[in-house]
């Protein structure tokens, strides 16, 4: 009998072996980039935690119960270890290689601007989403079923963000959508919503939202509020960081299918979100040129959706004022007009630089023309996106940016779609160049 239990325990120990192989694979030259390095750290931590705790866990099983029952227990344990391996190896690692390095430059720069240093990786997946690794462990009951392991990893902050359609350098214009997801990590780590709302366990809120009939209306609404506040904060941070590029791409690319991706129970009404972001661009970033452009796009969408714009925007939650205050403190530099002019002034040393104060718009148009002629611009991402998107709103069916792109494509004799892809690749390069420049500046 005892011998059989030992055999069962050996099967559990065997379940840990693939982790060693996994770590060996991660050491290969193909995975030397720093983002694999940060991933390797979490795999090492997990492997060590399993190895340090497995014997204590196995020792908890006495020889008293019938072998069939112990077998069930040990199978559960084996499946939990296997689940962690599958998540790390299949869901994450095998989907990391398709992510362009430039996206990490983009997301890292955002986190630096929020003074946040957390371990995260980007990987391909069917939906744009960010997940806290601890949610995975808790849902698999590690805290109660394997407490020795849980206690040694529960303080590890590790997140993985999944996406697929945007994982291409020629889709860089849509990368601001990823900043919204990264902003969820900032909120969770800095407790932006939780400073104002006491119980902001997002996992718990989702569990409540999945089972509406089980709760009182008050409790359901409270969970909905937590989830929605999290979305507003992510919108807010993305807007502060990118001066409207997030809401612009959101309106351009995703608004029409937003309800497919985002359920109303977890995400606020899109009209409300856009109104909040327009307000931030106007009153906090002082960029009326950008807010006017977004408003034009918004009106087009409203018309298409058979809606009209509310005469005055009613904020969905009164707590948003306080929460945005909390968020504002969490971000070092916002893409205000002043900051953008400052960033441009440090780069422009000719006639364009001299025009900045009096003809901000003219400078942006000149830079846009340069950019569309293939000239890169090394500046914070907000500036790069602003140059690309400037004059983008439709007026009487006419869109100056679209026309500029078409004209540039025509003059180069390149099909328009191909040309736009090239421009997005150039934007991706600019993001990378700026991140490298920032790092160099810090060192020097």
């Amino acid at each position: 009998m005892a011998r059989s239990i030992e055999l069962e325990k050996d099967k559990v120990r065997t379940e840990l072996k693939p982790f060693d192989q996994f770590l060996k694979e991660l050491e290969s030259d193909a995975f030397k980039a720093d983002y694999f390095d940060r991933f390797r750290k979490i795999v090492e931590t997990i492997t060590k935690a399993f190895k340090d705790s497995i014997e204590r866990r196995l020792a908890a099983f006495t020889s008293g119960p019938p072998i069939q029952e112990t077998s069930i227990e040990l199978d559960d344990l084996k499946s939990m270890i296997g689940a962690v391996y599958n998540l790390l190896y299949i869901t994450i690692f095998k989907n990391m290689t398709g992510v362009p390095r430039e996206i990490y430059y983009f997301t890292d720069t955002f986190l630096e601007n929020c003074s946040l240093s957390v371990n995260y990786v980007l990987c391909l997946g069917e939906q744009i989403q960010v997940t806290d690794f601890r949610w995975f462990l808790l849902s698999h009951q590690f805290d109660l079923k394997y407490p020795e392991f849980w206690n040694s990893v529960k303080d590890q902050r590790f997140y993985f963000m999944q996406f697929r359609k945007l994982a291409d350098r020629s889709r860089s214009l849509d990368w601001p959508l990823l900043i919204h997801e990264m902003a969820h990590i900032v909120d969770m780590n800095k407790g932006i919503v939780s400073q104002t709302i006491a119980d902001t366990d997002y996992y718990k809120a989702y569990q409540v939202l999945r089972h509406k009939d089980l709760y009182s209306e008050e409790q359901y609404d409270s969970a909905k509020k937590v989830s929605r506040l999290g979305e507003y904060v992510a919108d807010y941070l993305a807007t502060r960081y990118l001066a409207g590029a997030f809401v612009w791409r959101f309106l351009q690319e995703y608004l029409t299918i937003a309800r497919i991706f985002e359920e109303p129970k977890t995400h606020p009404d899109l009209d409300n979100r856009v109104e909040e972001m327009i307000e931030v661009i106007k009153s906090e970033l002082h960029l009326p040129e950008v807010s006017a452009m977004i408003e034009k796009e918004f009106l087009v969408w409203l018309k298409d959706a058979g809606k009209t714009r509310a005469t005055s925007h009613q904020r969905e939650f009164s707590e948003l004022h306080q929460i945005f205050d909390n968020a504002r403190k969490g971000i070092l530099l916002a893409a205000t007009k002043e900051e953008i002019i400052g960033a441009l002034r440090s780069k422009l040393h000719g006639s364009l630089g001299a025009k900045l104060e009096n003809d901000f718009s003219g400078v942006l148009i000149a830079l846009q023309n340069d950019f569309f002629n293939g000239r890169p611009f090394v500046a914070p991402p907000a500036v790069g996106f602003l140059i690309f998107m400037y004059r983008g709103g439709k007026t009487n069916g006419k869109n100056d940016t679209e026309e500029a792109i078409s004209a540039a494509a025509k003059s180069l004799g390149v099909p328009r779609v191909k040309y736009e892809e090239l421009m997005q690749e150039l934007l991706a390069d600019c993001i990378k160049l700026n991140a490298v420049y920032e790092r160099y500046s810090k060192i020097s």
Partner: protein, 167 residues
């Protein structure tokens, strides 16, 4: 809802119930082993305590349903807070055993088992018949949970490991 969170909350709801039943089974099967080490004794007590907490959920759910029917807002709020101590267990129990009458029957059975567990935790020896009956009940319940949730669990796993497109 993000598909990963959807899948994780699904796994959480299913396993929290199945594993808590296993806690009871493990504790009842192991407590009488003559050669248990102090660590093993402690583990048995830990698992049985977890099981007791789980049983309390049935009672709290029942009280909560009554409070809702009676529109007793104050009670609804405090019971809801209690249920949300572990939202996975509440979602699991209430969704796997949907019918209040079935839940009531299970609650009654689990209350009897809880008495057996209590006597073990207070270092008394329950009768072997009571232990056997408790074990039979818990095993049957666990089997029922497995039957009712295995498809949902597989679907959730496929969502996590990537073979199901999620929109």
């Amino acid at each position: 809802m993000p598909s990963m969170l959807q899948a994780l909350t699904e796994i959480g709801r299913i396993r929290s119930v199945r594993y808590r039943l296993s806690d009871g089974i493990f504790g009842l099967l192991s407590y009488s082993s003559p050669n248990n080490t102090p660590d093993q004794e402690e583990e048995i007590r830990r698992r049985l305590t977890q099981f007791k907490t789980f049983v309390e959920y049935f009672e709290t759910i029942s009280a909560y349903q009554n409070a809702r029917l009676q529109r007793d807002t104050k009670n609804v709020r405090s019971l809801e807070e209690k249920l949300l101590t572990n939202a996975d267990i509440y979602a699991g129990v209430a969704s796997i055993f949907k019918e209040p009458t079935e839940r009531e029957e299970i609650r009654s059975k689990l209350s009897k088992i809880e008495q057996v567990v209590d006597s073990i935790l207070s270092r008394d020896s329950p009768s072997s018949d009571d232990v056997k009956e408790s074990l039979d009940t818990l095993k049957a319940l666990r089997k029922q949970v497995e039957e009712r949730t295995s498809e949902d669990e597989k679907t959730a796993e496929r969502m996590i490991y990537g073979s199901i497109p999620t929109f």
